[in-house]
């Protein structure tokens, strides 16, 4: 599977309810790899209502910068949440179907 299939995909719960759009893939740096650096392991999907500005890296709290831009983008991300990848049932045609109800 490719990361691009997950990103910007719609996330729907078991009963088909739309949770939002995947705007980020939260990883831990502990994936197995024969090479010198550990591979990123995608642990959770960042699911947000809208898709704007996600790429500008404004979800992270440590992002400083022009308050005008920060405030604007943070407002868009009010409802972003983390969904554990373990809950993913299947991924097809731009939609991520979850196998269970996220918390």
């Amino acid at each position: 599977m490719r990361a691009s299939e997950l990103l910007a995909a719609e996330v729907r719960t078991v009963d088909g309810r739309r949770l939002g759009v995947v705007t980020g893939l939260r990883c831990s740096l502990d994936g197995p790899s024969q090479g010198p650096t550990p591979a990123p392991r995608v642990r959770a999907l960042v699911v947000t209502g809208r898709h704007v500005g996600a790429a500008l890296g404004y979800q992270q709290e440590n992002q400083r910068g022009p308050w005008l831009v920060r405030a604007l983008i943070r407002a868009l991300h009010r409802r972003s949440r983390l969904v554990d990848v373990g809950l993913i049932d299947r991924v097809e045609a731009g939609t991520v179907r979850l196998s269970a109800e996220p918390d």
Partner: protein, 137 residues
């Protein structure tokens, strides 16, 4: 998976989109190889999906481009490539030595054998022009 919040699980919140996708890939002495046009993921024992390879080239970037432009890029790249089952250029993640502001690999582009267009343009155009071999004074 226990359900405590993920932030403490991930030593620093490494987001694949922000810290890997579309990053510049360079060889050990800084020469530019390609961009991380996409990333190959595979389910891993112990949960989650692990990055197994970096993908580059129009066949990797195409699907991420909007609508007709994306399809057109993929179609063109398919016709361009000579092997029957064309797939994106694949760099196994083992080659990566550092995930900094650029992704550093342990070998050069030629050793990876992934450059198509660059070689074609070099042999058919640039090498035909005098002075292409030595640095400008």
């Amino acid at each position: 998976m226990t359900d405590e919040s993920f932030d403490d699980m991930t030593d620093e919140s490494f987001d694949l989109r922000l810290r890997l996708l579309d990053r510049q890939v360079v060889d050990p002495d800084g020469a530019m190889i390609c961009k991380v046009d996409d990333v190959e993921l595979a389910p891993a024992d112990g949960g989650g999906y692990v990055v197994t390879a970096l993908l580059a080239g129009p066949l990797a970037l195409g699907p991420r481009l909007p609508g007709r432009l994306g399809r057109w890029t993929v179609a063109l790249a398919r016709r361009w490539s000579d092997d029957p089952e064309p797939s994106p250029r694949r760099i196994p993640f083992e080659r990566v030595t550092e995930l900094g502001s650029a992704v550093v690999l342990d070998r050069s582009r030629d050793q990876l054998g992934i450059a198509g267009l660059e070689d074609w343009v070099r042999t058919h155009v640039i090498d035909r022009i005098p002075g292409s071999r030595h640095a400008s004074e």
